[in-house]
Symmetry: C2
Subunit: 194 residues, 2 copies
């Protein structure tokens, strides 16, 4: 790995672990083993390095959402993506950035976060629309709204898990979302007799 890549990877890790405000250029140097002259040769500021690192984290996270598209049952894809193994106590590399006022106040940094969330929402909403069309979800379910609901369950589940230092609330939150989603399947007279 070249020096530039080492700096970006280290900053990506530190943004995830500690956030932006709490990460100093010195910590990046110490962990990456890159010297100060070399660091500033590649990145004029902590903020420039953070921009590259944040883009790197988005590129790392977004492709997984491709599994929301594809053949077969849309609801099965939605359920599989919702229940995908996730490290609840580490949280979301991209979502945690929103909690950093220095990121929120920097239009260029925030734009990376917001476009990642928009791309995720498009994927979720598309799969939910397919599920409604396929008759797997009731027709009064709004895919745009429920896409935000399910994204919020994951992002908020991390908050609950971190608050307790325990992944259980995250798991419960998404199991509860799954049970609500299943309750939103169209009911037939036959299904009532079960």
């Amino acid at each position: 790995m070249g020096t530039r890549e080492r700096l970006v990877q280290t900053m990506s890790d530190l943004l995830w672990e500690r956030g932006y405000a709490d990460t100093s250029p010195r910590e990046v140097r110490e962990r990456s083993g890159v010297g100060q002259g070399s660091q500033y040769h590649h990145f004029a500021s902590k903020r420039d390095l953070a921009l590259a690192a944040l883009r790197h984290n988005v590129d790392d996270v977004l492709p997984a959402a491709d599994s929301l598209s594809g053949p077969g049952s849309p609801l099965a894809r939605i359920e599989a993506y919702l229940l995908r193994p996730r490290d609840a106590l580490r949280g979301c590399k991209v979502g945690r950035m929103t909690q950093d006022p220095q990121v929120r106040e920097d239009p260029e940094l925030l734009a990376v976060v917001s476009s990642a969330f928009t791309a995720m929402h498009t994927q979720w909403a598309h799969a939910l629309t397919e599920a409604v069309t396929a008759g797997e979800l009731r027709s009064d379910i709004d895919p745009e709204q429920v896409a935000h609901t399910l994204m919020a369950v994951l992002q908020g589940g991390y908050v609950l898990a971190m608050a307790q230092g325990d992944p259980a609330p995250f798991e419960q939150a998404r199991q509860g979302a799954l049970s609500l989603l299943r309750a939103a399947a169209p009911q037939t007279p036959e299904s009532l007799t079960k």
Copy 2:
């Protein structure tokens, strides 16, 4: 307001706005107008002040959840609390603390956050249990799980709103949760013909 209260109130505001890592004792002094000697007379460290301020924020937030208890339809109480006016772009005073590694790594600070979330969960789960008992929600809905789901929708909705600099995703997330909750009402053969 006395000096001590002024320090606590100012730190409470700064914890909400900027978090723990990004708030310096100097900022607290500048905003509160309290001098350095007086600050250290009341609080030996930034961390001691943060502990008092975090407790203050919990005391400020928790009483609202009392509206989950009371007379009348449990589901109506749940819906009202879910849809209660909230400033999505400011987020949750208590939940945002989980994003600060310095808080997560401090057992005493984290204990304040985790006990607040436990208290909230108890209130949600109690109301959801009442809704199941009253026949307003299907009997296969797990109140403990769905309590975490609805808490996550709110906490995660703030993340989505902050990512876009727009309260709309928060509103959509909770409207979507509401529609799923309504879909989890027991269906009668009569309701199918509607």
